[in-house]
């Protein structure tokens, strides 16, 4: 049996639209595409909002206790958590309005738990994270962890095209002028490479056949050994016990998983170089 999960946590249903949009907002982009209002530009003068030192200190202490294991003590990334100093969500956050939502809801699909924090605590965390972001961006190239788009550009686009159309088998499902047109404008750098390797947010179709023969098709919304759920063509969620129905999940995305053991690292960089031409 194949298990695909689009709703990990039991309350993800309520938060699903919110979490989807937060996930998109957290896409890592090069600093020169950050909105001018929050004003952190690499290479040019850095305009940063300054926060009261006491607020930053209490945010640092709270960050150290709850966040640093995954995000690093300096917010630059640690065990399994992203570099917040390069986060678009952080760049767009104003005094914790976006950071607070992520802290309080977590990111269940990425393994971040929720934290019950007061408005004052959120404000102090935001002050610390923004201060860390300003520091990281004004320091130049030293001491930064994390991945810039230029780090990934070691491949050859022509070799990537050969792989896409040949050994990779990508053109069996994808086209640079069709579904992938403009993909490199929608995703940049590390996020483009991660989506290329495994498109986390791709929806799978599922067809459920009831005992009397009726079939229903929709986007897979929930699956474990015991329950299968989908969103039907009218946008309504429906579910059945797996023991009462037959169901078939469209496993096209598994083709990405099959490639993991076949890729060389050169293949991946070449493919990235090719995909980056799809603007």
């Amino acid at each position: 049996m194949n298990f695909l999960r689009l709703a990990l946590h039991w309350n993800l249903w309520l938060a699903a639209p919110l979490i989807m949009s937060l996930a998109h907002a957290a896409a890592q982009t090069p600093p020169d595409s950050a909105p001018a209002g929050t004003a952190v530009k690499q290479g040019g003068p850095v305009v940063r909002k300054s926060y009261p030192p006491a607020l930053v200190r209490s945010g640092r202490d709270l960050f150290r206790q709850d966040c640093s294991f995954c995000h690093g003590r300096d917010a630059g990334g640690g065990e399994s958590g992203p570099d917040l100093t390069r986060s678009k969500l952080v760049t767009e956050d104003v005094d914790g309005d976006k950071i607070g939502v992520v802290v309080r809801h977590g990111r269940p699909d990425k393994g971040m738990p929720p934290f019950d924090r007061s408005d004052q605590q959120i404000a102090s965390l935001a002050a610390f994270i923004h201060t860390q972001q300003s520091r990281a961006l004004s320091r130049g190239s030293g001491g930064r962890k994390g991945v810039d788009a230029v780090d990934l550009q070691t491949g050859n686009a022509e070799a990537g095209k050969q792989y896409f159309e040949g050994m990779g088998g990508c053109s069996g499902c994808h086209s640079p002028t069709g579904d992938l047109a403009g993909i490199a404008s929608r995703y940049r750098g590390l996020e483009l490479e991660e989506q290329m390797l495994y498109p986390r947010h791709a929806k799978s179709r599922v067809t459920v056949k009831l005992s009397l023969g009726q079939t229903i098709t929709g986007n897979l919304a929930y699956l474990d050994e015991f329950t299968v759920g989908l969103i039907d063509s009218t946008g309504v969620y429906r579910s059945w016990r797996t023991s009462d129905v037959q169901y078939k999940v469209d496993t096209a995305v598994d083709a990405h998983v099959e490639l993991f053991r076949k890729y060389t690292d050169a293949d991946i960089h070449n493919l990235m170089a090719y995909l980056e031409t799809f603007r």
């Binding site: 049996m1 194949n2 298990f3 695909l4 999960r5 990990l8 946590h9 039991w10 202490d61 150290r64 206790q65 709850d66 640093s68 294991f69 690093g72 003590r73 990334g77 640690g78 065990e79 399994s80 992203p82 570099d83 699909d109 393994g111 738990p113 929720p114 934290f115 019950d116 190239s141 030293g142 001491g143 930064r144 962890k145 994390g146 991945v147 780090d151 990934l152 550009q153 070691t154 590390l190 490479e193 991660e194 390797l197 495994y198 474990d224 050994e225 015991f226 990405h256 998983v257 993991f260 053991r261 890729y263 690292d265 991946i268 960089h269």
Partner: protein, 517 residues
């Protein structure tokens, strides 16, 4: 001693070994730790072997369909339970960071709740307390060891185990061996020496310390080797077995050429002196954060026709190891899932790391991911089927390191690309997977418990508690828990009923057959 005296002694010791403990006032003593009675779970692993396998057979594959909720304890706070509770004299003791609860195992009601004062240490998780006599031993995020009175949670003494200001923290459940409380430390974001410390249970004084790595700043030498999780003990050989963590700097090996001893190793120490007796390195010169701190499971049995005292570990780096625990010699090294970072196995049974798969400025695709092919989740050894059963995490990730990332702490970045969870039942003599049971995308945080009636208890990625048939992995029972399972199950007998204890989120669940069965 005459014949009658000998018979009496034999009978008396047999009674002690298998009967429920009736002398409860003293708490946990050496005999209880050596031969845990049916109505106890006196240490993190349940016993010194780490097999997490119970002789209890009241719950069977035939009657488990009637397993019912006996009670639930809700901690009413957000930290997830990652500890294995202790059950001693009818009382359960379990933890989250900074917190210990004592709960009546009959009613599920709180007896007392201890809260350690607010502190800035790492609050990433907590594995539980240790007990000796009527004393509990509890490590804190800011690297202290607190000893409390089990009857009311009052503090006896607090000692510093490591310097939290330097970057150490502590999360593990200590191991009591004789009159020693063994404590391990954590801390990967700084270049720190790892160690195990033996502490006097009466006074808190340090008895000995074994360092896994040299002092920070030793030229061309590593730091790290953190002793994250609870070890195991063989009382006949008088050896304590412990796993050590990865080297620091984590993703960059340029300042620490060579094997980086004793990081990513299984070590055997003399518990009386703390001296190293033997060591086997699971990941020489690791650059992927793959600790070797997973349970070193002790099994006596046949290996290819010869009786052997074995030590088995499913390790984070993707290999299943079987060692002769008398001398550390390798008997078997076998992958238990996808891995792409090694050039093979050397003559000593150690993986050979592929330099082309070290973290690089433009990234390397690595299997498994940084979390590893398994992690803190306890495995179980089922002697009836000869199976080593583990919650595995087939996975792929990208690893980066560039000169600008420096040589301190993490020194790079890694990103998970894909992963799933699967229970694998490994034939310990060959490494072959006899059966597997899918758990779902991303993976499950549940550990594994097996019993003599042929049941395997665990949980899936969606928060379902599962009971599987140990012979083929088929699902026999389940219950949806509503949150993430991040602990390993325990079982014990109380008032003639067998209880299964599981947790999910901040809630503890007790399961049993209805009393009339």
């Amino acid at each position: 001693m005459n014949f009658l005296q000998a018979v009496f002694l034999l009978g008396a010791s047999a009674l002690i070994a298998i009967a429920p403990s009736t002398v409860m006032a003293q708490g946990v003593d050496e005999q209880m730790l050596l031969h845990p009675p049916a109505d106890s779970w006196p240490g993190y692993h349940g016993d010194y072997s780490g097999r997490r396998h119970s002789a209890l057979t009241q719950i069977t594959p035939r009657n488990i369909k009637n397993l019912a909720l006996a009670w639930v304890f809700q901690t009413d706070q957000l930290a997830q339970i990652k500890s294995s509770p202790l059950l001693v004299a009818g009382i359960l003791y379990f933890t989250v960071p900074d917190n210990i609860w004592a709960v009546d195992a009959r009613s599920g009601h709180q007896i007392w709740h201890y809260i350690y004062p607010p502190n800035n240490g790492e609050h990433i998780g907590h594995r539980g307390v240790a007990m000796y006599k009527g004393y509990l031993f509890f490590v804190t995020p800011d690297a202290h060891l607190v000893s409390l009175n089990s009857k009311d949670g009052t503090v006896r003494w607090t000692v510093v185990v490591a310097d939290a200001a330097k970057g150490y923290w502590t999360t593990m459940a200590p191991l009591v061996v004789g009159n020693r409380v063994l404590v391990g430390v954590s801390g990967d974001f700084d270049n720190l020496t790892g160690y195990i410390r033996a502490i006097d249970p009466e006074t808190g004084a340090t008895q000995w310390q074994w360092n896994s790595t040299p002092p920070a700043g030793t030229p061309d030498q590593t730091t790290g080797g953190m002793t994250w999780m609870t070890g195991t003990y063989d009382p006949d050989l008088n050896l304590v077995y412990w796993g050590t963590g990865n080297p620091t700097p984590v993703l960059k090996g340029t300042t620490r050429p060579g094997d980086d001893l004793y990081t990513c190793s299984i070590v055997a120490l003399n518990p009386d002196t703390g001296k190293l007796v033997w060591a086997f390195q699971v990941s020489p010169h690791d650059t992927h954060d793959w600790d070797a701190v997973e349970t070193p499971v002790l099994v006596d049995g046949d290996f290819h026709g010869e009786p052997k005292k074995m030590l088995m570990q499913t390790s984070r780096n993707g290999y299943f190891f079987v060692l002769d625990r008398t001398n550390g010699k390798n008997l078997l090294t076998s992958p238990f899932g996808p891995l792409n970072w090694s050039l093979g196995i050397d003559k000593q049974g150690r993986p050979i790391p592929n330099p082309a798969k070290e973290p690089a400025p433009d990234g390397r695709l690595i299997a498994p991911d940084e979390g590893g092919l398994t992690n803190f989740r306890s495995p179980s050894f089922d002697p009836r089927n000869g199976l080593f059963i583990v919650d595995a995490h087939p996975s792929y990730s990208l690893y980066f390191a560039k000169p600008a990332d420096g040589v301190y702490g993490w020194a790079g970045a890694d990103y998970d690309v894909w992963g799933k969870g699967v229970i694998e039942a490994i034939d310990y003599q060959t490494g072959k997977i006899r059966w597997s049971h899918e758990l779902g995308p991303e993976g499950s945080g549940a550990g594994v418990l097996t019993t003599d009636s042929g049941l395997t208890f665990t949980g899936d990625a969606m928060g379902n508690f599962l009971a599987l048939d140990s012979s083929d992995g088929k699902t026999l029972w389940h219950a949806g828990s509503g949150s993430h399972i991040q602990s390993s199950p325990i079982t014990y007998e109380l008032d003639g009923r067998q209880y299964l204890l599981t947790s999910s989120g901040g809630v503890l669940f007790a399961w049993a057959l209805p009393p009339e069965q």
